[in-house]
Symmetry: C2
Subunit: 347 residues, 2 copies
């Protein structure tokens, strides 16, 4: 980083904590590994996992020009960042103001929105959106119409002048399973349902999958994986080729002979997948006792922590963790090489 | 709300969702009930629970001029909002840049910081801070020195030219206990430890407690409660006089005969205390199945939900929930009467 004409380098351990840090080399490894497995348009990276247009630009540099978004603000932010070639809002939206903003953004971007009911079709059409994907329930109890209802939803959309680009169906309940054969069989079932729906809707797109199942999808046109870029301890269980490329750096602010306390709390760490993992800088593990709003209480496996020590906290769920931070620091080794705003937060 | 000279009223059910809504009358009830129990300086409201200077201004209007903060940014935001009469940063901070910013803010505010070690004393003194409180471990395995070590920490602070205002000790592990007699006895033990420490440090302040124990503190000078203003389902278990004064409004975006899905997910809801509670607008409860990033899947107890229905989601933990939102809407009945930025987020 340059300041007043002088080169100023910053060490990650000079960052105020808690600090979200992305390892540039491991990120490139992950993006490269996925681009090899699913090149170009066969991957539609999901930006909800990082909410960062600078990171999305790296995904584009690896050949992926189409993206998946979870919120209207993610779509609008991607358009503003010049990444609007082909954006899918993979969730249903009813709110007229936001839909109208999305429709206005079509002047400089291609925007497709998920629909699964007459109401969501009507809302999209009324706002002036042009293209939809029929969202199909493939087994996860969440959004999506029944597979055998997809043709009706597509007809409703075409009746309102919308272009139906195809179908999507997210098998989120199958992302992390210990029995790989069972996972493979269940994913095949979910794709069967999606293909049944697609036979009823037509369109060029069959979109499914995520970081836990991207390697099981030879019958869809694209996969919506997001977590692969940065990873978390939940997906790490699956033994993917992706490395843990981000962590939150904390400082030990209090220490006793029995335990230590660092300044990475549950306002800096998504907690829905349970406690994060903590490592000291020499790579030693720790028993994490609990997190409070601003603190993590832990016992290092080897030796005692001292006030001022730095630690790395590895999220159990990357998506909500990124949404809690304003900025991520890109680092190579210990050197901070860039500052990436997490600019797609909110709705 | 007024716009272009015309009175424009907005209904809470016109808000884009997810929307954090505060019930103005229930908030006033809560603030009044606490001000009656602990008037003026006997309460030092904790702003970490709401991170909102507009709400802190209401607490000041109820007679409390001193506040507790959890992060440097909370302190600086309170100073900027003109609420800097007496701010306690109740956590240890080592980072020189942030401590220097706090020291600079002393020009227009009174700032006291927690210390529990030689390192935190040194950092505060080196940055130019003037006043400290000795943080004492009263049983919760987190920050704070041993009670019998408090005199040493106070002496270190005085040796560095710092004024020692007294002690604080947060019994966070005793906030919610089903056995009230056991709670009362354990809180008494924790106060014993704090008074032992205070005998060694001196100073005018003995600070402790929270929303779950505010009524058990007749031997301290002030209580640090925060959650009482807005409440959550965790503290509601304790049967306090405080009402649930905030909720996140969601819209049903997808529905089946078996379950429905609203747009309040785990990026809008602190999850460390488990799932939130969901009510339909007619006050019916629901079984909450699970939350995903942007969705809550639920089954209403009475009848079937329809796409477009609004629901209220009540947080299990208010503090991290507020930190996920940019704004809270103040409402009286169904009418939106103000927009409060949640302006103390981050570190």
């Amino acid at each position: 980083m340059s300041e007043h004409g002088t080169i100023v380098t910053m060490n990650v351990h000079e960052l105020p904590t808690p600090a979200m840090v992305i390892d540039a080399d491991l990120l490139q490894h992950n993006l490269g590994a996925m681009a090899l497995a699913r090149p170009g348009a066969s991957l539609r990276p999901h930006v909800k996992a990082h909410k960062c247009t600078a990171l999305a630009a790296q995904q584009r540099a690896h050949g992926h020009a189409s993206f998946t978004c979870a919120t209207p603000r993610e779509v609008l932010g991607m358009v503003a960042a010049g990444l609007g070639d082909d954006l899918l809002l993979a969730n249903e939206v009813l709110e007229p103001t936001r839909l109208t903003e999305l429709a206005a953004a079509q002047a400089g971007a291609r925007i497709t929105i998920a629909v699964d009911s007459a109401e969501t079709v009507d809302a999209a059409a009324a706002a002036g959106l042009r293209e939809v994907l029929v969202d199909v329930n493939v087994g996860l109890p969440r959004c999506g119409c029944r597979p055998d209802d997809a043709g009706r939803v597509a007809d409703l959309a075409r009746g309102r002048g919308l272009t139906v680009r195809g179908v999507m169906g997210y098998e989120g309940h199958l992302m992390v399973m210990d029995d790989r054969d069972e996972q493979r069989a269940k994913v095949a079932d979910s794709v069967d349902r999606l293909l049944l729906a697609h036979a009823l809707t037509g369109g060029d797109i069959i979109s499914a999958g995520g970081t836990g199942t991207y390697h099981l999808h030879d019958r869809v046109t694209e996969v919506q994986a997001g977590s692969y870029a940065l990873m978390d301890t939940y997906y790490a269980r699956m033994g993917t080729p992706f490395e843990q490329a981000c962590f939150v750096i904390g400082t030990v602010v209090s220490a006793t002979p029995r335990f230590a306390v660092a300044d990475v709390g549950l306002k800096a760490m998504g907690m829905d997948h349970g406690n994060p993992t903590l490592e000291t800088l020499d790579g030693q593990g720790a028993d994490v006792w609990f997190l409070s709003d601003e603190h993590i209480t832990f016992v290092p496996h080897a030796g005692v922590a001292a006030v001022g020590d730095r630690v790395r906290v590895i999220p159990a769920h990357i998506d909500p963790t990124m949404a809690m931070h304003e900025v991520a620091w890109l680092a190579r080794g210990h050197e901070v090489i860039d500052r990436w705003p997490i600019d797609l937060r909110g709705w």
